[in-house]
Every structure is written in C-alpha cells, then in structure tokens.
C-alpha cells in the first residue's frame, strides 16, 4: 500500500482553481519534489497534505486512510506528519534543545527517551554543541538544521518541506541540498519537497512532479524528466531546449524533412502521427569543424550566427543551411568556432523528445 495518495485533489477559491485534479502517489521512503513556477499550486498542494488548507475536491490518504476530503479534514496536529517551513519557524523563545524536544514531549514519551533522541538527532545535524543556544544566536544554516532536526526527530509518517532553502545564500543552499538528501538516505522518511529550483529538485529527489497552472504535467525520475520531457512546459521549464516543429509519419520522426531513423522512435508516444513539436537539448548536438568520415548520425550543415563564452561551455546559435531554423547548441570550452564559420551539426536522435 502506498504511503501517501492524492486523488483528484482540487482547491478552488471561488472561481479561481489553484490546484486542479492532482493525482500523486508516494511509496514508503520515497522522496518526491513538487517543482514549478510560483503560483503553480505546489505550496497549496503541500499545505493541503499538511491539513492547513481544506480541499474543495478529491482526497488525501495516508496508509489507506483518508485524512482530507471536502468538508472533512483531520487537523494538522493529528496527522503524525512534520513540516519544514520557508521561514524555518524556529521558535525564538525556546533553545535549540527545547525546539527539537517539542514534538516528542507532545507524544508523551518518557523524559529520558526524549533526551536521548534529541541528543542523537542533534549529533546527526552537527548541532550538539549548540543545544542550549537560542535561535537568535544561530546562523541561517544552523537554524535550518534545527528545523530539520525538529521535523525528523518525531519520525513522521510524511515529511513536508516548503521551499526550505530559498532564504539561504547560494553556497549554503548547495550544501544543504546534499544534507537533506543525506538525511533522507539515513532515515528513509517519505518526503514531499516543494521548490521552484530545478537543481534542488534534481539533487534531492527520487521523482519530480512538475506542476503548472494547478496541474501536474509530468512525474518522472530527474534524468527522464530531462531527456524525455512529455510536455512543452516541462521541456521549457526543466533545463534549456530547442522547440522544433516536426512530423511523425509511419512511426518515424521527420525533422525538417529529414528522417531521424529508428533511434528516435523511443521518444514518440504510441499512436501519435502528423505534426508534432519536439524538444532538442543544446547538449544533444555536437558541432564539427569538418565533415566526419563516417556519417554515423544525422548531419546538418550550419552557419554559426552568434556565440557566447560561459566559462564551462560555449553557447552557440546556429542556422542550419537551407532551412529557416535557429538552434542553440552547447560545446566544450576548447571547441571554439568563429561567427560565420560553416560547420557540421550532429544531432543525437536518442535525445529528441516529442512534447506535443
């Protein structure tokens, strides 16, 4: 039985539907991110799971028992979950130790047990030396660790994180990403993680649910989301891409009249035919100064129109000859080509995904 099941979950404020028939299932110990731009409904979804917002349609079930349905909602305090908030919400009137012990005390555990578990978890998040400090005396990263410890120590049925890293500076954010994943690997708590930062979602999650305008567009493992986006929105939102018009005829994908061959067939959903839109990642192309001896892939002659040096890569804009297309392609730092140079462009057909 799945740990957490959202079925047709909907939230509307009057005529405005902010979460629209969301279906999502998490197995026990799974880490799933809700990824999307601001206003896509991801935080509302999370707050419905927590019980702070009542759904107007659909249900939320944990281990098979329904916790939320329209008009009948178990309050947050009886859900056995825990949550990490954007503001951390560390109580400034309590020490680190008191903050972390709060949930355990409510569970009426014996005093020694509380003390032992608080000690253990503070050790894990490396705060044991700061147990008697007040939050005002901690740095942002340390406060974040208190929030993590406080949420994990109660062994929640589901752990919810609401953009927990958005208030940290860039370096710390990267560090905390791995910290969150490390804690998940150690405790295997079923986790829902809300973020608008794709790198964060990719680094932490087993699966990512991409949301847009209240709906889930695609749920997949991070690498599949990147190489096989299924909608135009997902292709554009996760990483950068070239969106090109193409045709599917007889099961084959034709890009500007050129057949991409059998390797591209995996990217075509069954039964699709006619005009389609495909996503071609800048990394799915190689730029060659001369025509290669063995013509092993799809080759296009192209002219370099613009170039930008980004340090870790070149960013080229190319115009394939004889077409009206404009493509963006990435190349390693040593592969420099001048603007106006005639080059060969090799497309990897396995990385072409039909999105529409």
């Amino acid at each position: 039985m799945p740990r957490l099941t959202l079925t047709g979950l909907t939230k509307a404020y009057g005529k405005l539907t902010v979460v629209d028939r969301v279906d999502l299932t998490l197995e026990e110990g799974e880490f799933v991110s809700l990824l999307g731009p601001s206003g896509c409904g991801k935080t509302t979804t999370l707050r419905m799971v927590a019980g702070f917002v009542d759904p107007t349609g659909g249900t939320i079930a944990v281990d098979g028992s329904v916790l939320s349905a329209p008009g009948a909602v178990v309050p947050p305090e009886r859900r056995g979950m825990s949550m990490i908030f954007q503001s951390y919400a560390i109580w400034p009137n309590m020490t680190v130790e008191q903050n972390v012990a709060f949930g355990l005390e409510l569970r009426k555990l014996p005093r020694e047990e509380v003390k032992r578990r608080v000690g253990e978890i503070l050790e894990v998040v490396q705060l044991n030396k700061l147990a008697h400090r007040y939050p005002a005396e901690l740095s942002g990263g340390q406060q974040q660790r208190v929030a993590l410890a406080r949420a994990i120590v109660v062994k929640p049925s589901v752990l919810l994180l609401d953009e927990p890293l958005s208030n940290l500076d860039a370096n710390l954010r990267e560090e905390m990403r791995f910290e969150i994943r490390r804690l998940h690997d150690e405790f295997r708590i079923t986790t829902v993680y809300v973020t608008h930062d794709q790198a964060e979602a990719m680094a932490t999650s087993d699966r990512i649910a991409v949301m847009n305008a209240g709906r889930i567009e695609q749920v997949d493992a991070p690498h599949l989301l990147y190489t096989r986006p299924r909608t135009r929105f997902v292709a554009g939102f996760v990483g950068r891409t070239n969106l090109l018009e193409a045709r599917v005829e007889g099961g084959d994908l034709l890009l500007d009249g050129v057949n991409l061959g059998p390797a591209a067939r995996a990217g075509i959903a069954h039964g699709v035919t006619g005009a389609v839109l495909v996503s071609l990642r800048p990394q799915a192309m190689a730029i060659l100064a001369e025509e290669p001896p063995a013509n092993d892939g799809l080759l296009l002659r192209a002219t370099i129109a613009e170039r930008t040096y980004l340090g870790e890569a070149w960013d080229y804009v190319l115009k394939p000859e004889g077409t009206a297309l404009t493509l963006r392609a990435a190349a390693p730092p040593l592969e420099a080509h001048d603007v106006g140079a005639h080059v060969w462009l090799r497309i990897d057909p396995r990385q072409v995904a039909v999105v529409e």
């Binding site: 927590a50 008009g71 009886r78 859900r79 919400a89 560390i90 109580w91 009137n93 409510l106 062994k155």
Partner: protein
Amino acid sequence: MSDAALPAAAVRPARFRLLEPVMLLWVALIAALLVLVAAPLIKMLLISFEMQDTGEFTFENYLTAYGRQRYIDALRNSLLLGALSAAISTVIAVPMAWAVSRTDMPGKGFTWAMVLAAFIMPPYLGAIGWILLAGPNSGWINVTWRALTGATDPLVNVYTFTGMAFVIALHSFPLVFIFVKSALDLISSEMEDAANILGGGTWTTMRRVTLPLVWPSILGGFILIFLETIALFGTPAIIGIPARINVVTTQLWQFFEDPVRVEVAAAYAIPLLLITVAMIGVQKLMLSRKGFVSQTGKGGERRQVKLGPWRWVLFGWCLLVGLLAVIKPLTVLLQASFAKAWGRGFSFDNLTLRNYRFLLFEHDVAPQATWNTVWFSAASATMAIVLALLVAYIVIRKLMRFADVLGFIAMAPFVIPGIVMAIGFYAAYAGPPLSLYGSALLIILAFTARFLPIAYANSQAAIRAVHPEMEEAARILGSGRLHAIRRITAPLLKTSLLGGWLVVFIVASRELSAAIFLVGPRTRTMSVLLYDLSEQGNFEVVSAFGGILLFITMVIVGIGMKLVGRDFMLRRE
C-alpha cells in the same frame, strides 16, 4: 516506522465544524463590539430625534441646538481653535522632528525627553500650569514683567483665544513630531544627495525635497490635532469658561447641567462626529496617492546633515519648546503643590506638605478618586487588550469569513470623539432598563470602547510580527490550536501586549472628556476631581493632586520603559 502515539485520525463531519470554538468566540466578540461601539452611537442618533419625555419623533432638538447665535458661535470657535492649535503645533514640531531625525543638532536626548514629557502630561494640568504662569494679574510671567519694567499691563494673558490655542498646542505637538520624525527616518540620504549633486544646498534640499516627501505625515499630524482639539474638554473648560470663550465641548457640558437635556446634546454633538469622519476620510484619500510613497526604507544609509552654527539655533528652539511645554508649567505646579500660598514664591517658610496630606488623608473624595482612576484604568486596559487581541487574531489569521467586519468595528471609535462617545454611553446605558449611571461598570465600558483602537492597532502589529508558520510548526508536530497559542504565540506576544496595556492605562488614567459625563458621586476619577478642584480655584491643592496623578503616570511609564523599551509610548501606530 512512525510513532503511533498521536491519537488515531478521526474525520470530523462538516456539520460539527459550525460549532467550533472559534465560531462561538466570533459571536461573542460581535456581541461585545455591538454593546461597546454600535449601540451607544445608534442610541445617540435615535435620541436626537426624540422628545424628552414621550419619545415621539421630532426635529425639536435640532432646532434648539442650532437655534441660538451662542450655540452657532461655539461651533465656529471650535473649528477656529482646532485650526489654530494644529497650525501652532506644526510650526513647533516640524523643525524639531527634522533636527532630531536628520541633523547633527546637540541635545537630542533632551529633546526626546521633552517631547515624551509633553505627551505624557495631561493637557488640563498644562492648562493649570499656564494659568499660574500667565494669569493676567498674578501669573509668574506677568508679575516678573511688571517688577522688571514697572509696566501696569500684563505681558501675556492665558485667558484669550490665542492663549488657549497656544496651551493646547504645547501638549499636542508631540503627535506631529512623532508622525514627521518616523517618516523622515525612512528617507534615505541618497534622496538628499541627489539634490545636492544637482546643486541644491542644505536649505534648498530640505525645502524642496525632504519636507515635500513627508508632507503627508505633516498633514496627518495636523488633521489629528485639529480633531483632538475640537473634541477636547479640559483646557477649554479650565481656560475658556472663565474667559467667556464658548466651544462645542463646553456647550455640550452645559446641556448636561440641570435639567439634563441629553436629546439636545445628542443633536448638538452630531456635527463633531461628521467632521471627524469626513476629515479622516479626506486624510485617507490624500495619503492613498502614490506620489509620496518613496519611504520604502530601502536605499541604504541615512547620514546626518551638518548644520554648523545653525545647530545651536535649532537646539535653542527645542530648548524653548521644552521650557514652555514642560519645564516651566511643571516647576510652577510643583512649587504650588508644596506651597502654603503659591503667589509667595520659593522660600522655606512657604514650604509645606499640607496639600498632599490633606488630599491623601483628609479629603473626602480624593483617596477614592485616586483608587478609582487606578482600577478603572487597569480594568479597561485589560478588557480593551483582551478584546483587541482576540479580534486581531481572528482578522489577521483569517479564521472566519467576514472577520474584517470585526476589525472595522474595533477601529471605529477612532473616528468618534471621546465626548460624543460619552454622550452615546449616557444615552444608551445611563437610564432604564440598565440604569448604569454612576456605576463603575459604565465608566470602564466607555473607556474600553474609547481606547479599543489603540489596543487594536497594538495587537495587530504584535500578531503581524509573529509569522503564522510559527504556529503551524507547532500544529504539524501535534499541538492543537489552543495549545499552540498558549505555548508559542502567547510567549512571543507578551512584551508588545504589555506595552499596549500600559499605553491604554496611561491614556485612560488621564481621560477627562468621556469621564465627566459619566461619573457619579462614588465613581469620580482623578481627572474629574482635578477639574472640580480647579473650578474652586484652590491652586495649591489642585497642583498637589496633579502631582499625585503625574507620579502614578511616571511609575507606569517607568515600568514600561524598563520592560518594553524606551520608545514604547512614542511609536507611531
């Protein structure tokens, strides 16, 4: 894996949610607000159209209220007095605010202390102080003037229209000061630098850039003082009645003299209410214009303007204001309170504790009045804060639909002059069926209603400062709403609520205009008794009683500064 210690999940059916405690609370709050705010106002409106004995519908009261030149003159006098006092206050306060906020003027601590003292001192005490200073015959200033020059005419006379406006302004200007200073504090120096680099000197920059940016605050302060002045009772009664200057509030008081004509008073109070509502509306409209809102607090540092020798001129101004508003009236009051006869001046054989001893141990009303003031103020501060806190919590956390209505009613007394509110309370509750006239409850309720907006603004700010996620973090870990409020929210609100309580206590302890219509023989407050004593003209005893009132206030202010912080009285809400 997960702890099973939490109670098993139980889904509550929808119909029980109607009976949630918060719903009952909402109904209770609505009832309380209706009793405190809506009922007195409505009753006052109704009664203004009723015949005194029969209750028949009539316009008679309005004809009486506006049928005599004397009554119309009083209305005109009120408006003039309000405008003049507000203008003088603005002239006094704007340079002070600019000096303290933006310049390197010396003695800023002293200036702050003077503003705070002028704010704390009850206006009627200041008025009595100024009678001792500028009474035409025996006032200190005039006695000294005559001794120095041999002139026979007085130099200054407090018993005039300008004298009265001046005395009122000396205790109102802190409002303009606070408004303008807090606006100035938010303007970045870069605004001024931008004018400097284009060739504007210090004065041009102040005149063309800085002051226009705080124009809404100056206007806001002006309007507020205008409204406070037209609703003020103490100073117009103490100075205006002997000077034969009649204003709306003193005229209302005369309608309450035997035979009490509360219907006429109600009709006569309506313009006061309408003017206040209209002015607050005008102010809101003007402030909602976007062009002024550069005060985002962003844009870096705020440097002090270097004034050179001019800084001593500004300090001289602040010193003069402090002298006139606080030091001189306070000195003569204290002198009088310890004197056998105040006119004999400072000498050892004139010193006595008799006035204090008489008031504290021999006077038949004073000890009772002192006790009344303390406990009425404490009770109404407590009621106002509790009520305001509950309403603010429901409104800010959006616990109910239509919660905003509660907030609106709680803020409504802000636009009701205290004297109008008192007449409303008298009309609604003094007579049958409740017959509360002369009871402590009536006064406590009226004070609670009157100062509810202060308490509400305070509670709102306090609750806003506590992020809702603080409570949610507790709830998701297993604590119910009430438990979360008790363990998390309440401790976080403690200090700022204490500050709010103390502010309400202080303003309630000096309240005169609402009290004077509602007190009975056993429920006199210090402010009312002070007024009665001043009518008898025994200034030594009056001063001593003022000294006791000031002492109580100072103790409370001291506690507040210690527990809440130096500026707890003078924050702009």
